[in-house]
């Protein structure tokens, strides 16, 4: 699935990007989607990733993230859904 990770600050997002890359996982820095937050910040997008794998990395690398959203494209509309644990 495609996931978007949000963070409380730009610094957390950049440090998260670095740590995820170090784990060998492809990650794309993106502007935080407008529907997710009106504060303009960075988020991280992970494409075709297993939720369990990334949760493991987030925990082991002590990544300070805020929320995880699933991202799907349907009829040219991007749908984000907050993943609950």
């Amino acid at each position: 699935m495609n996931l978007v990770l949000t963070f409380d600050s730009t610094h957390f997002a950049l440090s998260g990007e670095k740590k995820i890359k170090e784990s060998g996982i492809a990650v794309q820095l993106i502007p935080t989607p407008r529907s997710v937050s009106s504060r303009c910040g960075f988020s991280l997008q992970l494409s075709d990733i297993d939720l369990d794998i990334i949760l493991d990395v987030l925990l082991n690398k002590k990544i300070n993230y805020n929320d995880i959203y699933s991202k799907t494209l349907k009829d040219e509309i991007t749908y984000y859904e907050k993943i609950k644990f």
């Binding site: 993106i30 407008r34 009106s38 960075f42 040219e76 509309i77 749908y79 984000y80 859904e81 609950k84």
Partner: protein
């Protein structure tokens, strides 16, 4: 961005209020919050039938946030996707990227902003017509750049990517070019004299 919060508002009020806001106008994008699935569906249907392009829908528990842009372009609907792509390409702008970093201040932040900007270009409906990289900007196109993949994605949508040959030579990286063709200032001048709008990013 115009914000409309329809939490606790019974049907069909969200659609009526959206319609009212659209007829008043004065904004290019719209954020609408509703608190139930039928209201979301009704508003989406209404937006589609109006001159709006729904871009994002966020679901967080029972709360839905809809982001839509108000434009005249979406009115035209062509039969084939190819024709639509061609049409969009004709509307695309030209970008001149002259630095590694976006804006003035912190270079590390600037290069991250540039990456996020390329990503946003790659996702946007209208692909750029051209992107011309020069001076420090060519570093986005060479081996080791973290933006190669995203630039390939942009290029695959029909955008012409050009890197300044003089600049590649100056930095000694001509053989490391990973994306785009080599061009010179003639290409830049013909771009400046073309029909598309030019946006300089430094």
């Amino acid at each position: 961005m115009k914000k409309l919060n329809f939490k606790d508002l019974p049907c069909p009020q969200p659609v009526i209020q959206t319609k009212k806001a659209l007829s008043e106008g004065g904004f290019s994008s719209l954020e609408i919050i509703v608190d139930n699935e039928p209201a979301k569906e009704n508003v989406l249907r209404f937006l589609k039938s109006s001159k709006c392009k729904v871009e994002e829908v966020l679901q967080d528990n029972n709360l839905y946030t809809i982001i839509a842009s108000v434009s005249d372009v979406s009115e035209k609907k062509s039969d084939s996707n190819i024709a639509e792509d061609e049409e969009n390409r004709a509307l695309g702008k030209c970008y001149v990227i002259g630095t590694e970093s976006m804006g003035v201040g912190d270079d590390k932040l600037g290069s991250k902003l540039m990456s996020a900007f390329f990503y946003t270009l790659s996702e946007y409906d209208i692909a750029p017509k051209d992107i011309f990289f020069l001076n420090g900007g060519i570093k986005h196109c060479i081996e080791g750049s973290e933006n190669i993949e995203i630039l390939s994605k942009i290029s695959n949508r029909g955008t012409e990517i050009t890197a300044c040959g003089t600049c590649l030579d100056f930095y000694g990286v001509t053989d490391k070019l990973k994306i785009g063709k080599i061009g010179n200032l003639y290409d830049l001048v013909s771009m400046y004299n073309g029909k598309s709008d030019i946006i300089n990013i430094a």
